[in-house]
Subunit: 391 residues, 2 copies
Amino acid sequence: MRILILGGDGYLGWPTAMYFCVRGHDVHTVDNYLRRRAHREQETDSLTPILESLPARAEAWRAVTGYRIGVTEGDLCDWPTVEQVFREFEPDAVVHYGEMPSAPYSHITREHAVFTQYNNVVNTLNVLWAMRDFAPEAHLVKLGTMGEYGTPNIDIEEGFIDVRHNGREDRLPYPKLPGSWYHCSKVHDSTNIHLACRIWGLRSTDLNQGVVYGIETEETRYDPRLATRFDYDEVFGTALNRFCLQAVIGHPITVYGQGGQTRGYLNIVDTLQCVELAVMNPPDLGEYRVFNQFTEQFSINELADLVQRAGREYGLEVRIDHVDNPRVEAEDHYYNAKHSALLDLGLKPHYLSETLVESMFAKIEEHADRVITKAIMPKTRWRPEREPVPR
Amino acid sequence: MRILILGGDGYLGWPTAMYFCVRGHDVHTVDNYLRRRAHREQETDSLTPILESLPARAEAWRAVTGYRIGVTEGDLCDWPTVEQVFREFEPDAVVHYGEMPSAPYSHITREHAVFTQYNNVVNTLNVLWAMRDFAPEAHLVKLGTMGEYGTPNIDIEEGFIDVRHNGREDRLPYPKLPGSWYHCSKVHDSTNIHLACRIWGLRSTDLNQGVVYGIETEETRYDPRLATRFDYDEVFGTALNRFCLQAVIGHPITVYGQGGQTRGYLNIVDTLQCVELAVMNPPDLGEYRVFNQFTEQFSINELADLVQRAGREYGLEVRIDHVDNPRVEAEDHYYNAKHSALLDLGLKPHYLSETLVESMFAKIEEHADRVITKAIMPKTRWRPEREPVPR
């Protein structure tokens, strides 16, 4: 298949490109280095060293494997770029990771919030238009997030819910309670993609992904030059990855607030498996379907405890600190999210274990000299720090 | 009260400004003439002649009544403009009409879709930020649309619905099925405003308005220079207004498809009453509430028949044509939308009648020489006219 990977320079995009390539697909990637620029702006960086550009990574991939990954360095908000990529590559499937992916980033300033929504909404609209005009039968596999749902007091279904109300019923989009400007942008995308499927007959799978952890995939292990990025800072790092790094460098684990916040999690290797299952099992034309993409639920406290236990085994002394929660979120809530669609398609989960955590410790230790310690404590707050203007 | 009216040059914005001003409030308006520019782009115009600028309208208002309406000519997507307006005017209430308001406009080209979503999402984010920083206790009265809900097969509630599911329950945002890029932009706004209320403690009333009809309000009748705009073209005109004009000029009434499309409608004078009721009864800080703002439901066929009957009384021969539906929408569907919140606050509806339609005929006749006939038939289609690219 001809598979277009948008955001091919990212934490998941680059491993996904290698994964499909090695399995015989024709892979083309697009990236505008948004994440690299955002890191420079925040004076942070990936823990793992990554090559200086996507063409350099594709070249290393070719040197190591003999396979070719196509590259376009460009911005999906720029229509001529999108048009050219779709016209020339003629994708069968479009895997769309190409968005600003951070909730804290979207809360730094007004400009960051506006940029996040502009970037994510407009680039996805461009992709939908390009599919309409140049690839109407292609399958859009869009990375959404479990954070679109928030933490409702009922079970979370996969995208749609059967509602019985006043004696009638309908199957409707699951109500969304996104908790950040970034998460709102993903809800906006879902709304837009659903419309495009209804009015233009496009087909799409919206993968509402949980929090991804892990550093390595089968393909990153081929050669150090094929490493994917690993973020541990307060803006781009995600819970378990951050905690593992904190354990290794002797920083207390930063649990935000009470730590009862519960979310879905999955191993990076399962992200690749899930995306492949979605790509290989496309919906009908006109169908918009949603899969909840995670394998297990954990509370923050459970993760912190696991990292502490694994640390003890590994010989690390791990302290757990409850810091002021910079976000506005429930810290003790009901959470039961369904995630059977991908299992039904054949997903074989790699569950979280102390062994996995210890292997992350080992990988992090290799690069511990690169850690920028000032990037660890949370600084980005959901609520303004100063008092409201007096009236 | 100090009332800021965003989109104060529009069909509803200008009458709202006069309405609050004459009732003793301190009124400031902002507009960037987006609608006037869009009309020039489409080579269409308001049926009613309106003065050349918002300052000219405010000056005429002052000449006629002695009252003052403040004016800022500027774009709400431009942060310095928004910041200055909020810092200087210090509003108690913000009535936000300042958006691109047309579904067909958002389907003209990709650029129009992107512009509609960019404009509406970004300007509302700017307003939310300005409220956070300069007017945290002000009340945002945001004009949404009943079109956010689409046509679900269950009763439509006012913004939220109590869902019982697998033995648990929660009150959640009502699921949305917007039917155009424009309607999606309004859903995006609702999602963003709801978040701002939850994380920043802002207060907002989202008025999900039905289709507005009518040409005159108490204040527009003071003087011809105080007229509001009246759109009848396929892009900006709405159903009943378009049909009345078609009847007057002897054009067949353009029913799209079967005509079973049912929506909520209200008289322009009731829009003013509803907005006033919302403004005078603010929610608590942190509350996001939704009112469905319409007074009656009609199908397109019912409206066409009403205009035909009123035409017969008035001496007009009115033909009804079913034209190919340019939109993608259900033409025969269940529709039962709740709208009791504004009635509970004291709304006294002006219901639609043949008499009202005849008074619209009379007003339209005054300006019949200004009608641009080529703007009447639908040209903007939801689906691309050309065939998909062969693969």
